[in-house]
């Protein structure tokens, strides 16, 4: 098994410069020094958990470039690039493409005419790609990506503006096992998750607001923001090693641990990770 590999972007130019989700308020700015401290602490925790962290260069005027989860969907050596719904973030697309191409990925454009916000809205659990839509990404685009990859794609409708990306309310831990916050989904999506993911760990409203679901999984380690004790107990009871680190400066922007990372070698929960290349779903 290869070493877990994560892409991050230092928060040199991070800040609340616009409001494109329910969390962002310009009158509640982030403290850049504290943000830097929190980001470095997260990076250390991930390295400690066994990951290799690569970074991309931050760019002035693109404060959300720190949220690398949205850069692309990674599938083996393929990277399906994002096309952001908000023009404020569309400037990131060319930089993501540049970095991923230089990093050896076969870079692909997102489905034409569709918004698609990368791993923020598309997470493998087992051999199935779960995909959030309505608030940021388009259902039609997800279906086209599924066809491209030859994988089952399950679009899940997100209904709560505070949980606008799938990775803010759903986190696969292992094949058949995930964390989720039910109120973020419509009833069909909730029914589908219950049907398709045998072991769902439900997160309370309070901990969901602490971005409990926005966790980074590295092997058995699960890294979250602080303030998620119930989830951490549930994870520990299942043999995981929960870790916490304060990320409040990023929560102000509607992001947390997971949003700040892009797993480049395939998530632990993705069944195709570690399969020899060329082995695809039957």
């Amino acid at each position: 098994m290869t070493q877990p590999h994560i892409l991050m972007c230092p928060p040199d130019f991070y800040g609340i410069e616009y409001e494109i989700n329910a969390w962002m308020h310009r009158e509640r700015p982030s403290d850049r020094a504290v943000a830097r401290e929190q980001w470095l602490a997260l990076q250390s925790l991930l390295i400690e958990a066994g990951a290799r962290v690569s970074t991309m260069a931050p760019v002035a005027g693109l404060p959300d470039l720190v949220f690398t989860a949205n850069a692309a969907l990674i599938y083996r050596d393929r990277a399906i690039l994002a096309h952001f719904r908000h023009p404020e973030r569309q400037g990131e697309e060319a930089l993501d493409e540049q970095w991923l191409a230089a990093g050896g990925f076969r870079v692909e454009q997102p489905p034409e005419g569709c918004f698609f916000e990368g791993a923020g809205d598309a997470l493998f659990c087992g051999d199935t790609l779960f995909a959030g839509y309505r608030l940021r990404s388009d259902a039609r685009g997800h279906q086209q990506i599924g066809a491209r990859l030859g994988r089952r794609v399950i679009p899940l409708e997100l209904v709560d503006p505070y949980y606008y990306h799938l990775d803010t309310c759903f986190c696969p831990l292992a094949p058949g096992q995930a964390i989720y916050y039910p109120a973020a989904f419509d009833q069909y999506a909730e029914a589908v998750l219950k049907e398709l993911v045998p072991e769902l760990i439900e997160v309370s409203r309070n901990e969901a607001q602490r971005f409990a679901c926005n966790a980074v999984v590295v092997g058995r380690a699960v890294v979250t923001n602080t303030g998620c004790p119930e989830l951490h107990r549930a994870l520990a009871a299942r043999g995981f090693q929960p870790r916490e680190t304060p990320l409040d400066e990023f929560v102000k922007s509607g992001g947390s641990a997971k949003c700040l990372t892009l797993r480049l070698d395939g998530e632990d929960a993705a069944s195709w990770r570690g399969e020899p290349a060329g082995v695809d779903a039957a």
Binding site: Y133, A139, Q143, Q144, V153, I154, P155, V192, A282
Partner: protein, 420 residues
């Protein structure tokens, strides 16, 4: 597989076809889209569905979305679009001006008798004068479209070419239980006729009560078999609004009125009259001398029979000629194209057609009628009934039977309805 909601497609004002692809079953996207359509006041019909076999195989559904207005349809399409349901057709129909009179441009769209719409400037427009084997012409202002027979084409007319931007709504079984459902379209000499005749009587009564129009297409066997009286009764009782026939039905009807014979055979005795074979010619001659059927009735020359009742009861009739006609009677239209043109004009508001004992006229009229007009075809010869049924409409019912007992029973059923 086809799932129908209550409303049949032909009553919805606004319709659009959408397709949904992907893992639409596992993800409940398909049920969600269908639920949304219904909860937004629309209805749907799944026209095609293909379900993936392996877990990674995507599924596909082609869904017709129906709503009672363009506005509601647009709202439904907007909302289901968010879940990945996209309209299949964005193309307008392709129009080519006719380059000569009386012929279509090559590649013209050939019409069916089913309800049809063409897309013009992004909007679906219903084609009027629906008729099989025509072209479709669009008005110069591009706000309306109608079926156009080949001979009526004029240079410069805008004709639809190809199938893009054209959609057809096949006539389907409606949910109401009636004769047409009971009978289906198969033809058999061995079906119980009593029930069918009762249903036909019911249909005639309903048509009369609802202000619809019943067309009778009849052949001379009605007169030869001694059934003219039954038709006269139906005309007097207001069950027939329009009669299409040829020279023969009118001629033998008048022959019977004037001489008591049909093709020279005494109707009362069944024996051949002396020089009876001349009767029909003498009858035609007398009507020609009188200046026509209506004029003969006015002058008291013609005092009974089907044609007499038509004139007296103001039932419009059209007599179309053929190559073997004697005479013919002055009202007979001998130019077949002109006859077709006039038939087209007059069938527009017909809602029910009863075709009795004539292969020629039944098939001619069957070709002109849109598929949604209910048709009953009665003939002793199964091939007539089958040929008409082959128009492919669920709404055509065939009865293979002798005409006289059929009409006698029909009149009895109608009287029973009146007395009830």
């Amino acid at each position: 597989m086809s799932i129908d909601t209550e409303r049949p497609a032909d009553t919805a004002a606004a319709v659009e076809e959408v397709e949904i692809r992907g893992h639409i079953i596992d993800s409940l996207i398909l049920p969600k889209v269908l639920d949304l359509i219904t909860s937004l006041g629309g209805s749907f019909r799944i026209k095609q569905i293909a379900i993936g076999q392996a877990r990674s195989d995507p599924s596909y559904a082609l869904v017709e979305v129906q709503a009672d207005s363009d506005g509601r349809l647009a709202e439904i399409l907007r909302q289901i679009g968010d879940h990945g349901a996209v309209p299949t057709v964005f193309q307008d129909c392709h129009l080519v001006p006719a380059d000569m009179d009386a012929a279509f441009p090559e590649g013209f769209y050939s019409s069916t008798n089913q309800r049809t719409e063409v897309r013009l400037a992004g909007r679906w427009i219903e084609v009027t004068d629906q008729e099989m084997d025509c072209g479709v012409t669009v008005a110069a202002d591009r706000t309306s479209a109608r079926c156009l027979p080949m001979t009526d084409v004029r240079r410069g007319d805008l004709l639809v070419v190809g199938h893009a931007g054209v959609r057809v709504f096949p006539q389907e079984r409606t949910t109401q239980r009636h004769l047409f459902e009971f009978m289906g379209s198969s033809v058999s000499t061995e079906k119980p006729k009593g029930i069918a005749i009762r249903e036909i009587a019911g249909e005639l009564a309903r048509t009369r009560a609802a202000g619809g129009r019943t067309l009778l297409v009849g052949g001379p066997a009605i007169v030869h078999t001694g059934s003219a009286g039954h038709i006269c009764q139906m005309i007097r009782d207001g069950y027939i609004d329009l009669l299409f026939a040829g020279n023969a039905l009118a001629t033998h009807d008048i022959e019977q009125s004037l001489f008591g014979t049909s093709l020279g055979v005494h109707m009362s005795q069944g024996t051949a009259a002396e020089a009876g074979h001349e009767h029909h010619l003498r009858a035609i001659n007398r009507i020609r001398r009188a200046g026509g059927i209506a004029s003969a009735v006015e002058r008291g020359v013609l005092t009974s029979g089907i044609m007499y009742e038509c004139v007296r009861n103001r039932v419009d009739f059209l007599l179309a000629g053929s190559i073997r006609d004697d005479g013919p009677l002055p009202e007979v239209i001998t130019d077949v194209l002109e006859a077709q043109r006039q038939m087209r004009e007059r069938i527009r508001d017909v809602t029910f057609a009863l075709m009795i004992a004539t292969a020629l006229h039944s098939i001619a009229v069957g070709n002109l009628l849109p598929a949604w007009v209910k048709v009953v075809c009665v003939d002793i010869n199964p091939s007539t009934v089958i040929k008409l049924g082959d128009r492919g409409s669920f709404q055509t019912v065939g009865l293979v039977t002798d005409v006289e007992p059929f009409l006698r029973a029909l009149v009895q059923e109608l009287q029973a309805i009146e007395q009830a």
